[in-house]
Amino acid sequence: MKEVLRRYGPGLTAAIVALCAFWVVMLIVLPQLLMIDFSLRPSLPPAKLGGPEDVYTARNYVTLWNNTIHRSIFLQTIWASALVTAITFAVCYPVAYFMAQVARPKSLPLLILLLVIPFWINELLRTFAWYIILAFNGPLNLALVWLGLLDQPVRLLGSPAGVIVGMVYVYILFMVFPLYNAIESLDRNQIEAARDLGSGWLRIHRRIVIPHAKPGIAVGCIMTFMLAAGSYAVPALLGGPSSRWFTEIIYNWFFEGGNWNQGAAYAFILLVLCVGFILLMMRIFKVGLTDVAK
């Protein structure tokens, strides 16, 4: 801190510290802490706040356990987010590998630009594009019928499959770039050498490319899972009663059920889930926080 003061002088240091303190305290730490505090209190009318009933209780958390519908939606959200993460990884790995190791340097800027452009486009708009494609009379149904794969159109919108397909599309770029960056730093000679030693392609990927790309894989998976589990736009647009997402339950507690305390408890559980997933990934891939947040 002395170093900061010596470098920036008292006036500037005060401004810097004040802005940082405002951010950390008012926008990050206190909201999170008080959300937890809030989730541990019962929902009371304003008159009873601070009264004898305003005590800490785990009731809001027990609700999730007892409510079988909410519980199954929670588990389904985890499972579907994991599935989205796995599919995204499978789709992106060859692309990232091709761009990082195979593509000619000349065509690379164009390929990157082609990836960057959809990345810049609003998540909601990309979801909306799939809304049109998945519509009952939409192009996908039409194509499937025309190809003879279906006898008649099926309901794609509102099905779990529709939500997952949409999410893969929307979050795919959060997987491609970390993978690409990680694989790109691998020396091509290592692959050549392994090949020279008679190693098959599968073994090269399993023993050389994937171990090298670990930090990128971790980052890609963390981002994708976090975005999927916390997604509201995609299930809201593409989902239906059979494919409800945990975030929708939370939203309803706030704006339809009017029970903020309950909603805060659910939100905290979602946060714990995401933090747990991050820690799991960091454990599996043995990477630190500085590798993740870039």
């Binding site: 470098r7 950390v24 909201p31 509201y232 979602l270």
Partner: protein, 284 residues
């Protein structure tokens, strides 16, 4: 040899499929804008029209939402860019354990789902400080994670900063404020511009956080989402097409500016080396 060729054509096919997958939905959505059909679709094709742009133009709710989004975006620039800059400057000078902790806290919003940022902001500001949802609270909520993006941008640029420049200015008698204004800030200017650009875009596009803190205000993304569910017409496509067009334009300009800046740095370095070589030659 042939195995290689088969493999390489398979890979090429996969790449074509992948990029098709990336762009086809956007193309279909765009095409649907120009279809006369009341529901946005490409088949059946009922005739080319530009009417949906007119419909959009005459939609007052859209204009209101656009204005709200714009205000919030400007607010986020004003709040998140200075915060990100301060945080980067602070972390740049700290070398203790506190730095690690602070860094972890500051990047944590990037690893927190957007809905949770919205919820925690709403609960804290509404229930404890009695600030109701609306434009101001949306700026607050969005800034909490957009500031982290800005911070990472500034940290990347500061990494290449030559500290002796600040020392030299100080040594020549400049006050700390003068050093900051004349040396540090001009050096960071490119990063400030890109941080502002990215902050605005992130804010403009945000949905997951915004829905919790918007109160009764409607941003453009909220407007689009509600239109999709109630009263969807190709006018929404028209809006999407315009936004995509602007985004692509923005992305191009941003990329171009970034590459030009890189090229400029390279050529400056080259010129200096050439001048040195010329002088070394003339000294002999």
């Amino acid at each position: 040899m042939t195995a290689d060729r088969i493999r390489s054509s398979l890979v090429t096919a996969y790449m074509v499929l992948f990029f098709g997958y990336l762009f086809l939905p956007l193309i279909i959505m765009t095409a649907a804008t120009f279809n006369t059909s009341r529901f946005p679709t490409v088949a059946p094709w009922m005739g080319f029209t530009l009417d949906w742009f007119t419909v959009l133009w005459n939609d007052r709710a859209m204009w209101t939402a656009l204005w709200t989004s714009f205000l919030i975006g400007v607010g986020v620039i004003v709040l998140a860019v200075p915060i990100g800059l301060s945080a980067a400057l602070l972390l740049y000078r700290l070398h203790s354990k506190a730095r690690t902790v602070l860094y972890a806290v500051m990047v944590s919003p990037l690893l927190t789902p957007g809905v949770i940022i919205g919820i925690s902001t709403l609960v804290f500001w509404d229930r404890w400080l009695d600030v109701k949802g609306g434009i101001f609270l949306t700026v607050i909520a969005q800034s909490s994670f957009i500031a982290a993006y800005a911070m990472l941008l500034f940290m990347a640029r500061l990494q290449r900063f030559d500290l002796t420049l600040e020392e030299a200015a100080l040594d020549l008698g400049a006050s700390h404020l003068q050093v900051f204004r004349r040396i540090t800030l001009p050096y960071l200017m490119p990063a400030i511009l890109s941080a502002a650009f990215i902050a605005f875009l992130q804010s403009f596009e945000n949905y997951n956080t915004t829905i919790f803190v918007r109160g009764l205000d409607t941003t453009l993304t909220v407007y689009i989402a509600s239109k999709v569910r109630t009263g969807l017409t190709p006018a929404v496509n028209a809006l999407s097409v315009i936004m995509i067009g602007l985004t692509i334009l923005g992305a191009f300009v941003y990329e171009l500016a970034r590459r030009r800046e890189l090229a400029r740095q390279e050529s400056a370095k080259r010129r200096a080396v050439q001048a040195d070589m010329a002088l070394a030659g003339s000294a002999l």
